[in-house]
Symmetry: C2
Subunit: 580 residues, 2 copies
C-alpha cells in the first residue's frame, strides 16, 4: 500500500552539552533533505539499528531551539506577523499581579506572533485537503517510513493529525493516527503547592530524552505564561495545554466567574505562544452532569468538573460548546489541533462505559465533524479507568462515533487497587487499547492519585508508556515494528550483552541491573549470567542445538541427521555446558 522513501544518512556529532546521547552506543543521525533525526545504535557485530527518535537537536534552555519550520511556514505566504496580544500580569497568576512583576522571564529570541492572512486557513488538514504535500508531511513520512502521499491522505480524512502551531516553528513534525506508530504524551506542570519553572523545563528535556512524542503543560499555579514560554521555546515535540486551567486562575479559581471572553482571550494568548493542541471540554453538556451523580467517583477530570460547576452555577449550556465554531475559526488561523476533552471520563472501574461517559463521547463525535468543516485537526480524549473486558468497546465506539478521528487515552487503568503502581495498572490497559486502535497514549506515572511526578517519575512514566505503545505496534503488525524486538532478542541469544543494553528502552537501567550481580567487565562477554550461572544457561545449550542442526536444516533433514549428530555430540565431549 505504501512505499518507503529512500533516506540519505548523515552522521552528526553530539555538540550540545544539554543533549548527550543516553548511551555510548547511541548516536543521532539525520535522514533526507529535511534532516529528520533518528537514533542510531551501533552494535558490536558491526550492524546498526536505527530507531524513531523524538530527541530533536537539543537546546540550551536560555537560548531555545533553532526554527526548523520557519522557512516552510514563510514559503507558503499565507501568514503574517502581527503585534499580538500584550502579555498581562494576570497571565502569570495572582502572585505576578500582586508583585507587579513577571518572574524568571524568558530572555531568548524575541518574536512577533504569526497568524493566517485574512481568509486563509493554515492547518495541515486544510493543505492536505487541497492536495498539497507540505514539508511537514514529508518530514513525517521519513520518520514513519511511508510515502508523503499516504500521510497527506490520512491527514485529509482526519484519521491522523500533525499538531503544528505556526508559532512553534521549533517543533519537529510528528503524526498521530492509528495507521502510524503509537505515540505517547507526558504530562508535566506545576500546581499551587509545588514546582518551579526550572524544574518544569528540566522535566521537559528529561521526558524527551526518554522518548515522549508530545508533552502537555498542565500548570495550574503561578507563572503559567512564563513557564509555558520556556517550555515551547525548548520543545522539539508538540506542546498541549488545557486552557481552562489558566482561565480559571484569571478568575481567582471561581468557576462561575468564567466567561467565554476570558477563555477566548486565554486561547489567543496560548495560540500566539505556539501551543500545538488544546484540550477543550466542549462535550460536558448540562444534561450529562446529573448522569454522574450516582457514580462511585463522580467527575474526575479537572476540566470536566470546572465546566460542570460552571453549567450548574449558570444553568446554561457549556460555553465551550456554544462557542465551538468561534474556536474553530481561531484554531484554523494558527493550526492548533483540538484535543476534545473527556470531562466525564470514569475515575473508577465501576464507572467505566457509563451513560455520562458515552453521552459525552457522542457529542465529541458531533464536534469532530464541526471542526472538520473548518479543516481544523481533531483528536479525541478517552479514559481513564476501565476493566480489560470493556477496553475494546471504548475504542470501537470512539472510532465509530468520531469518524475515525485519532483516539488519545489516559491509560486506562485496569484496576483501582494499586496506587503507587498506576503506571503499571494503566500500561496494561494502554497497551490493550492501543492495540485496538488508539493513536496516542497519555502516560501515567507512579505518583498518579498521590502527588505530582518528579524527574524520576517522569522517566518511569515515559519508559513504561514507550513499552506499552511498542507492544501495541507489534500486536498490530505495524510496519517493521518487531524488528526492534528481534534485534534485541538476537543480541540476547548471542550473548552480546552490550548490544542488549544499547537496544533497550533504558540502557542505563538494564546495564546497572546486570552489574548488580555480575559487575566484572568480562561478564559482559560471558556466555551466561547470574540468573542461571554457566551450567544452566539455556541460551548456551540452545546454541549448541543450533550448531549441531545448522540454521538452514528443515526439521525433516534434521531428523535424518540426528543419529549421526548425536554420535558427534558425544565425541565432542558430550557436554553442552561450559564448566568454569
Amino acid at each position: 500500500m505504501t512505499e518507503t522513501l529512500e533516506p540519505t544518512l548523515i552522521e552528526t556529532p553530539e555538540t550540545s552539552p544539554f543533549h548527550k546521547p543516553v548511551h555510548e552506543q547511541h548516536s543521532r543521525i539525520l535522514k533526507g533533505d529535511l534532516k529528520v533525526p533518528f537514533t542510531r545504535v551501533t552494535l558490536t557485530n558491526g550492524e546498526t539499528f536505527d530507531r524513531y527518535a523524538t530527541e530533536g537537536p537539543g537546546s540550551q534552555p536560555e537560548v531555545g531551539l533553532p526554527l526548523l519550520r520557519q522557512e516552510w511556514i514563510e514559503a507558503r505566504q499565507d501568514t503574517e506577523e502581527y503585534d499580538g496580544r500584550e502579555v498581562q500580569l494576570l497571565d502569570n497568576g495572582r502572585t505576578a499581579l500582586r508583585s507587579g512583576i513577571h518572574r524568571d522571564q524568558w530572555q531568548g529570541r524575541a518574536y512577533k506572533p504569526r497568524r493566517a492572512l485574512e481568509g486563509k486557513n493554515v492547518s495541515q488538514m486544510h493543505y492536505a485537503r487541497q492536495g498539497m504535500v507540505t514539508p511537514e508531511m514529508e518530514y513525517v513520512a521519513i520518520r514513519e517510513g511511508v510515502t508523503a502521499e499516504f500521510v497527506r491522505e490520512e491527514v485529509a480524512t482526519g484519521r491522523a493529525i500533525i499538531p503544528n502551531n505556526i508559532n512553534h516553528p521549533e517543533s519537529e513534525p510528528m503524526i498521530i493516527g492509528k495507521n502510524f506508530l503509537v505515540k505517547i504524551n507526558a504530562n508535566i506542570g506545576n500546581s499551587a503547592v509545588t514546582s518551579s519553572i526550572a524544574e518544569e523545563v528540566d522535566k521537559l528535556t528529561w521526558a524527551i530524552t526518554w522518548g515522549t512524542d508530545t508533552l502537555m503543560d498542565l500548570s495550574t499555579g503561578d507563572d503559567i505564561h512564563t513557564t509555558r514560554e520556556w517550555i515551547i521555546r525548548n520543545s522539539p515535540v508538540p506542546i498541549g495545554t488545557v486552557p481552562i486551567y489558566q482561565a480559571l486562575e484569571k478568575v481567582n479559581g471561581e468557576a462561575d466567574k468564567l466567561t467565554w471572553e476570558i477563555f477566548r482571550d486565554t486561547v489567543i494568548e496560548q495560540c500566539e505562544q505556539g501551543v500545538d493542541y488544546m484540550t477543550i471540554h466542549a462535550g460536558v453538556l448540562l444534561r450529562y452532569v446529573p448522569l454522574t451523580a450516582n457514580r462511585v467517583t463522580g467527575i474526575v477530570s479537572r476540566g470536566g468538573s470546572i465546566m460542570a460547576g460552571w453549567c450548574l452555577a449558570h444553568h446554561q449550556e457549556n460555553f465551550l460548546y456554544t462557542h465551538f465554531d468561534e474556536l474553530c475559526e481561531i484554531f484554523a488561523k494558527y493550526d492548533v489541533a483540538f484535543s476534545l476533552g473527556d470531562g466525564l471520563r470514569p475515575g473508577a472501574t465501576a464507572d467505566a462505559n457509563d451513560a455520562a461517559q458515552l453521552g459525552e463521547l457522542k457529542t465529541l463525535g458531533e464536534l469532530t465533524r464541526r471542526a472538520w468543516e473548518y479543516d481544523v485537526q481533531v483528536m479525541v480524549e478517552g479514559p481513564g479507568h476501565v476493566p480489560l473486558n470493556l477496553v475494546k468497546e471504548n475504542v470501537d465506539l470512539q472510532q465509530d462515533w468520531c469518524h475515525e478521528a485519532p483516539f488519545y487515552t489516559l491509560g486506562p487503568l485496569a484496576t483501582d487497587i494499586a496506587p503507587g503502581y498506576d503506571h503499571i495498572t494503566s500500561a496494561i490497559g494502554a497497551a490493550h487499547i492501543a492495540w485496538h486502535g488508539t493513536a496516542m497514549l497519555c502516560y501515567v506515572t507512579p505518583k498518579e492519585h498521590l502527588g505530582l511526578p518528579n524527574r524520576d517519575d517522569v522517566k518511569t512514566g515515559v519508559i513504561t508508556y514507550k513499552l506499552a505503545a511498542h507492544s501495541a505496534d507489534v500486536a498490530k503488525g505495524h510496519r517493521n515494528a518487531r524488528d526492534w524486538d528481534d534485534a534485541l532478542s538476537k543480541a540476547r541469544f548471542e550473548f552480546r550483552w552490550k548490544d542488549q543494553f544499547a537496544l533497550s528502552l533504558d540502557p542505563h537501567t538494564a546495564e546497572a541491573f546486570h552489574d548488580e550481580t555480575l559487575p566484572a567487565d568480562n561478564a559482559k562477554t560471558a556466555h551466561f549470567c547470574s540468573m542461571c550461572g554457566p551450567k544452566f544457561c539455556s541460551m548456551r545449550i540452545s546454541q549448541d542445538v543450533r550448531d549441531r542442526f545448522g540454521a538452514d536444516l528443515t526439521p525433516e533433514d534434521a531428523a535424518l541427521g540426528m543419529k549421526q549428530k548425536s554420535e558427534e555430540f558425544i565425541e565432542l565431549g558430550a557436554s553442552v555446558y561450559v564448566v568454569p
Copy 2:
C-alpha cells in the same frame, strides 16, 4: 450457581515478631471452624474490608510453622510414616560432597516422611472423584467464598488443583483453576554465582507478606536440599520445584549423564520433603528439538534445554516422557501435582506460537490425560514472550488440547525491548492471558534477563503480579472481585486518604508517595492533594455536584430541579472550590 459459606469471625492478635501486619490498619482474622486467615482492613468510616490473605500464621524461621493439616491427613488413615530415603551429601551439591558436611542444616522439627499405604491414592483429585469433600476443599471454599461441593467438582474434573503434598502439612490449602481467583507464583532460589540460605528464606517470607500464592524454589547451586528444607518448613503456601535442576547438579552439570534412576531418586527426595508441585519437562520430545533450530532465541527454558541436550546426546526419547507413568504412581503416593513444563516456550516475540511450542503443547495435553488416569493433579505451563495479538490463542489452545487443566503462564512479555522493565512488559501479557482463562501467573521481576532478583525485586514482582491477577479477576467479572476496587475508589472520592493507603496493594509506597509532596499530617484529611492543589480538585467539585443533585435523583428529576439548584448554588456562595 454457588452458595457462600457463612463464616464466623475471630480476631487474632499479631504475636509473631516475624510476621507483623504490613500496615497499622491491617489485621489478620480467621474465619470458620477451619480458621481460614483473611486480612481485615479497618477503615476510618467504621467499615471493614476483608481480603483473601496468603500470609499464613507467620513463623520463626528456626522453628517453622505449625502443622495445620497433620490431623486431617492422619484422620484419613490412608498413609503411613516410613524411614524414607537417607539424605546424601550429594543432595547438597559438590561443595557438601567435597567438605563432607551439610552446611546450615535445618534444626527444627525432625520428622519421618509419610506416603500412601500400599494400594492407596492420597491426591485431592482422587478424593474428589470418590465424592469426598476433604477439609482441604472446605478450607479453599471459605477462602474463595464458594461451596465445598463446587470445589470438589472442579478438582474432580481436573479444572482446578489443590497442590498439597502430605509431607507439607504446614501448608494452607489453596486452589488454582480458572473458576477461582487468579493466583500468582514467585520464583526464588540461589544459583552457582549468588545467594545464601538465609537470603532465600527471607525472600520467601517477603514474597508471602506481599501476597504470593505459591513459591518456586529454583535453586541450582550448592545446599539445594537444605535450602528447600528451610523453605518448606516455613512456607504456608505450596512450594514448587524443577527437580531436573537438582538432578543435573548430581551429575556434575553434564546433561548426558542424567538417567531416569538419578532423576527418580531426586523426585523421591523432594516428595519426602514436601514439595507440592514439580515442573516436569516431559513434553520436550526428540522430534520437536529440531523445530527450534531456526528460532530467534532457540530454547530458553533451562529444563527444556537440559532435556533437549540429553535427547540429542543419546538420540533417545526424553526419559521423562518414557517414564511418565512411573512418575504418576509416585506423585499419587504423596499428592504432588504436575506442573507440565513448557520446555519449548518462546523466548522472543518472534518465536511465539510456533511449531515447536504448539507441538509440545499437544503432547502436554496427552500427558494431562495420562496423569488423570492416576488421579494425579495437573497444571500446564505456558509462555513466555508473546505479542498481544497472539496471547488469547495460547490459552484457547491450551484449554482445548489440555482438557481445561489449569494454565500457568510466565508473563507473557508483550515486547522484548525493555529489559529492566520486564515486570511491566510481562504484566501486560499476564493480565491479558489471565482474563482469558489462565489460572496462575508466574511473576517476572525487573531483573528478568539481567540477574537474580533481590528482596526489592521480589516485592516489585509480587505487587505487579497481584495487580495483573486482580485486573483479570475484575475483567472476568469474578465473584465480588471489583468490591476491592470500589472500596478504594470510594475512599479516594471521599478523601479518606488513610483508607486509600490501607486498601492499596502496597500501603507503604502509596503513603510515602503522597507524603513526598504533602507530608503534613493534616494533608491526609485534606480534601485535595498535590496533583491539582485545592482549587483544581475535581473530586471536590464533583462532590458538590452530588450534594446538589442528591444520590437518588434520576437524571430526569435532576433536569427538572436544575434551574432551582442553580439558583441555590449561587446563593450558597457560587464557588465550587475551597480557596485556601
